[in-house]
């Protein structure tokens, strides 16, 4: 393996480690606000993974929507519901041991599965401007889902407003 390969693997492991660490912090941190900030970190890590996968558009969209909108929304909700979570004895519920068992089995199963399947790499290195193709695909092949998703967003907008207003 050449030097560039080694470096890119190093970069990948760094990103992966940071992403997983932030993910772990998200689910384990006691303070919900800190967990929210760790979630932001995870989102950044995933965006970096998208960059490694040469999906720049998706990486930017990830930052714009996940961090700029969803994470901010979550932090907002945390602030609005903040006072009651101060003196909580534990942030983990009673069934956590069962959950841990299940996810460990799940992860091991998935890992074995991933190793077992003979994946075929057919991807070749493509660095071109993918966005025009993406836009065309969205407005032709995927027009119907696109429209449905926009209607869904409108419904969610109105629904969230109706549910949350006083």
């Amino acid at each position: 393996m050449d030097v560039i390969g080694i470096i890119s693997q190093l970069v990948f492991f760094l990103i992966a480690a940071l992403t997983l660490a932030a993910g772990l912090a998200t689910v384990l941190l006691r303070n919900v606000f800190h967990a929210g900030l760790a979630l932001v970190g995870t989102f950044f890590g995933v965006a970096a993974l998208y960059l490694m996968l040469e999906a720049e558009f998706l990486a930017v969209v990830q930052i714009l929507i996940y961090i700029g909108a969803i994470a901010v929304l979550i932090l907002f909700a945390i602030m609005l519901t903040r006072s009651l979570m101060k003196n909580e004895d534990s942030n983990i519920n009673k069934q956590w041991a069962w959950v841990a068992t299940v996810i460990v089995i799940l992860f091991v199963g998935l890992f074995i599965l991933i190793l077992q399947v003979p994946w075929q790499h057919s991807g070749t290195a493509v660095y071109t401007d993918l966005v025009p193709h993406l836009g065309t695909a969205l407005l032709t092949t995927y027009l119907l889902p696109f429209e449905i998703v926009s209607v869904l967003l409108l419904a969610a907008l109105i629904g969230a407003f109706i549910i949350a207003r006083e």
Partner: protein
């Protein structure tokens, strides 16, 4: 490289010289090609980043000076005039003050969050500078998603504001932070939509593409001249961007008469300095983006012949736009929260949507007309 091209385009020439020299040196020593490219990439990246990191704070320092001078003039005062000629040394004195002041961390704050907040606020702004095109061929990166990237970076700053508000353990800071966050996400929408109008006109989301699209009319084919769409879009963009960086008249999150200083109430010393830095860099950034989108960036007469003029044009336009924002600050009163939200959601958003619809249908009709003209020719 002849002397004429060096004189007309000095910065790019110097950059090319260093790069050529470095790679030539390394190759001659016998380093493998791949490693040479890697090293050259890292070194040149380091040089560009260093230049940016020096230019940005200096720019910011003299913007504070400009603000003081201009606002003072508007209020019929003289402004700074003691340190140096015309008070030109005041920013330096300010900087020394920031660096030497005690950094007070109040009791009860959320330690790491409180510490990281100013950094998180500053980083996205500096990252944004990566895609700004300061002159012909003078951008750190020519990203094909530059506009989207700018918007994404603008939205990341919200997290920092949240951290500052939440980590300070202070109700003024908390209210300020929430106000700031609500304001930023509300005004992000009209801003992005106004930019979308320009994207429609230029047919590109890369800053270079947009600037190139304004090269007509002897370097004066700026989008602001595209009546009536350009001026309206620019006006909306300017308002939304001003709101997004919390400046007058949208400076509710740091309204000193209500909230002491908003989310940075509990900061002092260089941490406060970082907030200050972020605010002014933001002002510079949106002025630069506005200049690029609506005023052609570095486009101007004779820029093809004398590329160095591009820098002059770019900075001139940017400084004029900064001046406009300072003018806002000197003349306009602050809005109320409900007025702010109503204005954003009930006026700006529908207006921009209508504008996009209009622009798109106009472009469609224009294309049809062009086809017709082509038919005439054939």
């Amino acid at each position: 490289m002849d002397i004429w091209s060096f004189i007309t385009n000095p910065f790019v020439s110097i950059y090319e010289l260093i790069r050529g020299g470095l790679s030539g040196l390394l190759t001659s020593v016998g380093v493998p090609d791949e490693i040479v490219r890697l090293i050259v990439f890292l070194v040149m990246g380091g040089i560009v980043v260093t230049v940016l990191l020096i230019v940005a704070p200096v720019m910011m320092m003299y913007m504070t000076w400009l603000e003081r001078k201009l606002v003072a003039r508007m209020q019929d005062r003289i402004g700074p005039n003691r340190a140096g000629p015309f008070g030109l040394l005041v920013p330096i004195a300010d900087m020394i003050k920031f660096l030497t002041k005690e950094d007070i961390v109040p009791e009860g704050v959320d330690g790491p969050v409180h510490f990281l907040a100013p950094i998180v606020v500053v980083i996205p702004v500096i990252l944004s500078f990566a895609v700004i095109q300061f002159g012909v061929g003078m951008g750190a990166v020519d990203l094909n998603l530059a506009l989207l990237y700018l918007m994404a970076m603008g939205s990341v700053a919200t997290i920092g504001v949240f951290m500052a508000g939440f980590g300070s353990h202070n109700k003024f800071a908390l209210i300020g932070g929430m106000r700031a966050a609500a304001q930023i996400i509300s005004y992000e929408i009209p801003q992005i939509l106004a930019v979308a109008v320009i994207v429609l006109l230029a047919g590109s989301i890369s800053l270079t593409g947009i600037i190139k699209a304004q090269s007509g009319l002897f370097g004066l084919g700026w989008f602001i001249f595209y009546l009536p769409v350009g001026p309206i879009a620019f006006f909306i963009f300017l308002l939304a961007a001003t709101a997004e960086i919390n400046r007058v008249p949208f400076d509710l999150p740091e309204a000193e008469s209500e909230l002491v200083a908003g989310y940075h109430t509990e900061y002092s010393g260089m941490k406060f300095g970082l907030f200050y830095l972020a605010e002014f860099l933001n002002t510079f950034l949106i002025s630069a983006v506005g200049a690029s989108l609506f005023f052609g960036g570095w486009q101007g007469p004779f820029v093809q012949q004398v590329p160095v003029l591009g820098i002059v044009y770019f900075f001139a336009k940017t400084i004029v736009l900064i001046g406009v924002q300072l003018w806002f600050r000197g003349t306009l009163p602050r809005l109320r929260v409900d007025q702010l939200m109503n204005f954003g959601w009930k006026r700006l958003v529908p207006a921009t949507l209508a504008l996009i619809l209009f622009t798109a249908s106009f472009l469609w009709a224009y294309r049809l007309f062009n086809q017709f003209l082509t038919g005439l020719g054939g």
